[in-house]
Symmetry: C2
Subunit: 308 residues, 2 copies
């Protein structure tokens, strides 16, 4: 679970609630890893308070600050039995430099493999994949030498994550990194927005903002020239901007049906074809609209249509 | 000629110099239309000073502020003999509301058709096309009801222009407008960056920044739902970010060879094939690199390669 930072902690807490649910609800055992944060134990305390308030029985904290500490057997063992691991924000390089390739790093990967949910927010989000956006400049236009990549914790493959995406205007650096590494799919997460990556490698968007996906598989670029810090030529990048409820297949790099359509399809299949035709014909006659519009209206009665 | 605003006026003046050249150099007769600007005659005076300083013999100003004035025969006649028309920045709605569909508006279209170069900067850039970005909100993520479009001056068809693109973070609104109107190609111009649109409908990028091109022809979107001001789903937008020297075919919506490659190709064609093979073979042997790299190096000796 990849969170774009600044997830809501006061109101409906959609993202944290999903984390708690995936970790097992009241039976969850969550370990907060706060290595990335410069706030010390405060970051752990904040999430402990929040998660306890949401009914999680057991919340512990881990804060190794050196690779020696992250290689400590006791620290690595602390993840045994964890059903959820939460990587706080801060500086993703500190997290990956301290934890990547250590016993703790391996324990996080192992926990993920055995089914524990691993969530990272902000810096913690950047660090979950094998390739990590280390740091870079802001701006919408891609430029040469704009961003640097390093090795992350390796929970997810084939993607590179950027966070605070809209708020800090990071499209340029994501485009430039994908242009240099078109085998990676670029994910840019707005604040208070998260990607839930399911076991089938489908991604589900939740939260207030959108996730920007940059697919460079058909890209033409001059990224290999590294011309100073000048604008980089990028042509043919495929861009997706997906708000809450939309899903994306990370393997085929394509949009999946909206969640509401999936549940709707189940309902429609249950309904006999004859009945449906009859109802549609009646609806069309009544509204003078095509069936597509009627379908949409039926599904989203609460939402206003642009044409109205 | 579409300029993203804030074109350099003090140093090498690449964009204004191109305008002067296209308008006929010292023999040019330029009319500055400053209706968009709130600065009054100051905007005209600024460009008069600049263009005279660059050798243009004749610079006059037009500043109709009502449709009556823009329908005045004398004002429309003032464009006769003009080889260049310059539309200043300001508020594009003021420009299109006053000039669009008037005698002056038609005179600008006619002048363009007979070969005069028409340049618009900032608001003037937005107004050149048939469909104009009227105003909207900032941000990288597309949202419903984020921007409004109105009718522009109609010099160019099939595009919608946004300016100050990177500086004011306008990708979101350009994506949302293209999602609503996928027949239009979205052009986002950074400051001090211009698109020279040639008669064959090819676009050439000049200046310091980049031009972002959004092609929605394969887009899937929920733009038709106009859900309040929430993020808009956009999937499969094709994005190009083109710095100076790159060219794009507005009709086929595809990248054209870089200008340096075109001139290089001319040179290579002149060179006999045998000689070229011989030289390449020698270069490959000497450098242990493939011919592609050698070709690039030969063309861009002055530029550093990423792998070095």
């Amino acid at each position: 679970m990849i969170i774009g930072g600044a997830e809501d902690k006061l109101k409906d807490k959609i993202i944290l609630a999903r984390f708690v649910k995936l970790a097992g609800g009241s039976g969850a055992s969550v370990v907060v890893v706060s290595t990335a944060s410069s706030l010390g134990e405060e970051a752990t305390d904040l999430y402990r308070l929040l998660l306890r308030g949401m009914g999680v029985a057991r919340v512990t904290g881990l804060r190794p600050l050196t690779r020696d500490q992250a290689n400590d057997l006791d620290i690595a063992m602390a993840l045994e039995g964890a059903t959820g691991i939460f990587l706080t924000g801060g500086n993703q390089l500190r997290l990956s430099l301290v934890v990547g390739g250590t016993r703790l790093g391996q324990a996080i990967v192992d926990a993920h493999l055995r089914g524990a949910v691993v969530a990272g927010t902000s810096a913690g989000a950047s660090a979950v994949s094998s390739h990590m956006m280390a740091f870079g400049a802001s701006g919408a236009t891609p430029k040469h030498r704009m961003a640097q990549m390093s090795a992350g914790l390796g929970l997810l493959q084939g993607i590179v994550v950027d966070q605070h995406f809209e708020q800090r205007t990071r499209l340029g650096r994501l485009l430039s990194v994908v242009a240099q590494s078109p085998s990676l799919l670029g994910l840019g997460l707005d604040e208070d927005t998260a990607a839930v990556v399911h076991h089938d490698n489908s991604l589900e968007v939740i939260g207030r903002g959108a996730i920007t996906i940059v697919d460079g598989s058909l890209m033409v670029t001059d990224a290999f020239q590294a011309k100073g810090h000048r604008p980089m030529m990028v042509s043919g990048a495929i861009l997706h901007s997906l708000p809450s409820g939309f899903r994306f297949d990370l393997d085929s790099r394509s949009l999946l049906p909206h969640l509401s359509e999936v549940s709707d399809r189940g309902r429609r299949l249950a309904e006999s074809a004859g009945k449906r035709l009859h109802r549609l014909a009646r609806a069309v006659a009544a509204e003078g609209a095509d069936s597509f519009v009627v379908e949409r209206k039926r599904r989203r009665k609460d939402e206003e249509e642009a044409s109205e």
